[in-house]
Structure formats: C-alpha cells, structure tokens
C-alpha cells in the first residue's frame, strides 16, 4: 500500500471515530532537543537559534519513520530568557527543566482563591519570572516582548510543520494546545511538590478550594478555535501517583474530572500523558468521557487494555529505556509483545512510554527499526 499524508491522517481519524484503522498508527514524540542532538548541534546554542528551528523540523519529519512529525517544541529558551524564568531553567548541558519552585506561600491561599487571575498576574508571575518583578510599565513591556517572541516563533514553527507534512507525506500534528490538571497547577507552579504535600494535611479545605478556583483558567487554556479530536489538548499529569488514593479522591480527582468533561463539552479532546504508574486509578480514568487519549508510562499493558482500552485510546507503555541500550532484535521483540496486547480491537496508537528528550534516551537506529516493524506488523 502506498501511503501519503491523506492515508496517514485517515489512520488517526479512524481511531478518533472508534473504527479500526488499516494498521496501527505510529506516533513518535520527541522534544526538539532530541532532534537537535541527532543533527549534531550543541543544545546550549541550538535552543537560541530560532532561524535553524526549521531545519530541525525537517530532520524530524524525514528521519524517524513516524506517521506524525516527532519534532515538538514546548520550552522556548528565547521566551524564557526575556521573562527571566525561574520555573524553567537550562541545565549545564542544555536540557531545560522544571526545578522545585514556590510561586505562592501557604498564607496566600485565601487571596489566590478570591481572584486567581489577579493573584496569578500580580503575585505569582513576578515570582516565577524575575523580569516581571518590576514597575507596571516595565512589566507590560516585558510581557509584550515575550508574547511577541512567542507568537513569532510558534508562527514559524506551525507553518513549517505543515509544509514538511506535505513534503514528506505525514499526518497532521495531533496536539493543538496544552493545559494542566488543576491540582498539578496549584502544586507545580504555585506551592511546589513539597509545599502541597504539607498543605493537604495542614489546610486541606483551602487546597480543595484552590483547585476549584483555578479550574476555569485551566479550562480556558485547553480550548482553542481549532480544538478537535484530531487537534487535541495535551495534559501532562503529574502528582496523582505520589498521593494516597484517599487524598487523590479528595484533592486531585474532582477538578481533574471536571476539567476533562469541560474540555469535551467545549469541543476539545484531551490527550493525557499518564506519567508514572496509575494502576491504582484505572477505574477512575475509565469514568472520563469516551475517546480520551491516554499515553501511559508504566503499568501492565494487559490490565490497562482490559480496564480502559475499550472506552479510551491507549498509547505508550513501550519502554524508551530499552531503545537506549537494547539490540535491534530485542527492541523489535518488545514492540511485537506490546502490539499483540494493545492493538486487538483498535483504540490503539503506537507510542513509546515517554517523550525522548535527550539523545541518550534512545538510540535513533532502534527507533527507526521499531517504527518500521510496527507499520508492517500492525496491519489489521
């Protein structure tokens, strides 16, 4: 079968419409930093070099045998630099990461809950972005500059993606925007992992109210004019596996569920990165509206397929770490094992268990071999 952009798009459309596609779609997802290293450029320089981003998008499009271009930009260094970001910081080797930071002290819950937009703008943003910690005039200027840079850069990225998809016959990008679970927002950007772990014991009612207060913001971030089942809202989930079930049930789940339902009601379809091991919470995930895409990191593929794979689109569970050091045959054998479990009955897209961010994460030759194998083997 000769495949082109249209037939590859159809694979995903079939999945989204609950039909069994011609074959298992292959969706490899890489942070652009992986592709930069694959191309042999130094991360510490390349992430500043906006003009070369287009070259990286093309390398992503042509190199890895994925049905969707793996090249993904999430953390844009020039924008973080304008803002003076404290919440996203480049390491000595160039990988931008999210260190443990606190944007809000525990004494400020009431103020934040009363008006989360105002509090975020006035208090949190200047703490997370030090160049916003200045006079209102200067702050407005820094903000404007950062947003201009952000839209210019993404304007180029999206346009070039479309061009490359056409040139190399790839399916469209599957992610249209991103949001965050309300509890994760309060934890990761406001109170920190450490702070929230104490708050749920010291001031539980305020944590509940805080999650409820930020939910409309999270919903707004996750719905865009082009939102659809094929242009999904990406949500990387964080804190749930680090909590007891009774805490999850009280603090995490209610607003997360409300967010997901709200997204569907507003025409947006979620794509969850189910980080770490959610085995304890599979029954909860099954309560979400049907057709939610879930990329699982860990867990038993059989159990996951059985519990959520009938209602939702399951992806992930292929261990990226195997691709780093396994032989080609070991990698292919693993792919066969995973596909045999997850592909029957459809509702399945082949992805690895996490995004490759650094060239040390996975041997590119193994990625290519596995993707080629799945395309041939995964025919329905």
């Amino acid at each position: 079968m000769v495949e082109n952009a249209q037939s590859k798009n159809q694979l995903f459309i079939d999945i989204d419409e609950g039909k069994i596609p011609k074959r298992v779609p292959v969706y490899t997802w890489m942070d652009i930093t992986y592709i930069m290293q694959y191309a042999g450029v130094d991360l510490r320089k390349a992430q500043w070099d906006v003009d070369k981003f287009k070259d990286m998008i093309e390398i992503g499009a042509k190199s890895f045998q994925s049905d969707i271009n793996p090249a993904t930009f999430t953390r844009i260094q020039p924008v973080y630099n304008i803002l003076g970001a404290q919440n996203f910081v480049m390491s000595s080797e160039g990988q931008i990461q999210h260190p443990e930071i606190t944007g809000m002290g525990p004494e400020d819950y009431d103020e934040m809950i009363a008006d989360p937009y105002k509090y975020t703008h006035d208090k949190i943003l200047p703490r997370l972005y030090k160049n916003l910690d200045t006079t209102p005039e200067e702050k407005a200027k820094v903000f404007a500059k950062a947003f201009k840079a952000h839209s210019d850069i993404f304007g180029q990225i999206f346009a070039h993606h479309d061009l490359m998809n056409e040139k190399y016959g790839l399916a469209n990008d599957r992610v249209g925007c991103q949001t965050v679970a309300p509890f994760d927002q309060v934890a990761d950007q406001f109170r920190s992992f450490t702070g929230i772990s104490s708050d749920i014991r010291r001031c539980p009612d305020k944590v509940v109210a805080a999650c409820e207060a930020v939910t409309p913001m999270m919903l707004k971030a996750g719905v865009k004019p082009h939102s659809s089942r094929q242009k999904r809202t990406f949500i990387p989930l964080h804190m749930a596996p680090y909590m007891r079930e009774k805490d999850f049930e009280k603090f995490y789940w209610p607003t997360f569920k409300a967010l997901i339902e709200g997204l569907w009601e507003n025409g947006a379809a979620p794509l969850l990165f189910v980080e770490q091991d959610w085995t304890r919470y599979l029954d909860y995930l099954n309560e979400l509206p049907a057709g939610t895409q879930m990329m699982f990191e860990y867990g038993d593929p059989k159990v996951i397929k059985e519990k959520v794979g009938k209602k939702h689109i399951v992806t992930g569970l292929y261990p990226l770490t195997l691709l780093a050091r396994g032989t080609k045959q070991e990698c292919i054998d693993k792919a066969k094992e995973i596909v045999d479990i997850l592909a029957p009955g459809g509702n399945y897209i082949f992805t690895f268990d996490k995004v490759a961010i650094n060239i040390k994460d996975a041997n590119p030759e193994n990625i290519i071999a596995v993707n080629e194998f799945v395309k041939e083997y995964g025919v329905y």
């Binding site: 080797e93 014991r201 909590m243 007891r244």
Partner: protein
C-alpha cells in the same frame, strides 16, 4: 511521655499530636538521656513511615511530609538534646548528577538518612564529576549517593563513577544510585554498588554498609 505513642504518632504523620507531645515533654525539663530517647522514638516512627511506603500505603508526598515533620520535631527537641556529640553512624555524600536539576527524591533520602543518624553532605543539583571528587576527598565519606530523574542522568552517573575510579577514590566508598530511571541493569552499567527507587530502602542499604 509515652514513647511508643510518640513513635506511632510520627508513623501516622499526626503532626499536631506529635508537636503537642514534644512541647509538653520539653516543658517538663527532661534530662539529656530522656531527650535522646525521644529522638530515638521519632527515628523509629520515621522507619515506620518507610515501611508503610514499601507496603504501598504511603507515597512520595507522604514521605516529603514525614521529612518536614521530623525536622519540626527535632527543632522542638533541640534545646533539651544537649551539645554532646550525637552518635554518627556514617557519612554520606549526596548530589544530583550533572545535566539534571531534580532534587525532590534526593531531599527525601537526605532527611531520612539524617534521621537514621548519618552525617549527610548534600552538594546540590546538576553537579559535575569534579564536584563529587572534591567533596569525597574532603570529607572521606562511607557512601556516595547519586540522584537523578531524567534518563540522561544514568550516563552522568556512569561518568561520575568513572571519575571516582580515575581519582583512585572508588574503592574507598560504597556507591548508591536513586531516582526514577535507575534499574538493576543501569546499576551494573554505571558500576554502582546498589540502586533504589525507594528512599527508605536506600537508608536500609546504607545502614547495612556501615554496620
């Protein structure tokens, strides 16, 4: 003060109760020996927290809070513990390897290791090989603990162990690695002595080494 009840309350992470018990205890003007017993009871409670984590009843968030609670408890007890040298069971050098900025797991291990009586030298995040070598030369630890969350940390851990070897320091220390990506295979590849994704287990392994 009922020491068993104290241990149990620490284990159950009953912050208010623990602090109330300890404040009353300090107000009763205890001897240094009695204070030492209270510290030991808190440490036992911390060990219970570790056991509950291993059993899957507690999770990382609970360990973090346990660390906070223990710090608070020791602060309350400080005035009555006395200035005499507390018994040090061993010395650990601890850091997140180069390329990685994550430190939550490292910090949990640190507070649990300190609770178990180790002297911990924490050199921070994104630390180059040379920083590990320098501190090992300086404090001559029993154990070097390396932490990381990203998969790339595994190679950085290997660099660090290789660096210790080249500096002639590898045989003088035990090396333990911890964090999301560590596995038995990674441990062999890196040349560490042990690995864990469970801070409480890491402390137990460390205790085994300094017996």
């Amino acid at each position: 003060m009922n020491l068993k009840e104290l241990t149990q309350s620490v284990g159950e992470l009953e912050e208010e109760k623990v602090l109330e018990m300890l404040n009353n205890f300090v107000a009763s003007n205890p001897s240094e020996e009695e204070a030492g017993k209270a510290v030991a009871a808190c440490q036992e409670g911390m060990a219970e927290v570790g056991d509950l984590f291993e059993k899957g009843e507690y999770f990382v968030g609970d360990l973090i809070f346990a660390g906070e609670l223990l710090t608070e408890a020791i602060n309350v007890l400080k005035p009555v513990i006395g200035s005499g040298d507390t018994t040090k069971v061993g010395t650990i050098v601890l850091g997140t390897v180069h390329g990685d900025l994550h430190d939550i797991g490292k910090n949990i291990f640190k507070s649990m290791a300190e609770a178990a009586g180790f002297e911990v030298h924490d050199i921070g995040i994104d630390q180059p090989v040379q920083a590990f070598i320098d501190i090992v030369k300086e404090v001559k630890p029993n154990i070097v603990g390396m932490s990381g969350v990203l998969t790339l940390a595994l190679e950085a851990m290997k660099d660090t162990v290789d660096g210790l070897k080249e500096a002639g320091l590898r045989d003088s220390v035990k090396v333990i690695i911890g964090g999301n990506p560590v596995t038995k295979e990674a441990c062999l590849h890196i040349g560490a002595d042990s690995f864990t994704t469970n801070a409480a287990e890491g402390v137990k392994i460390s205790q085994g080494w300094v017996k």
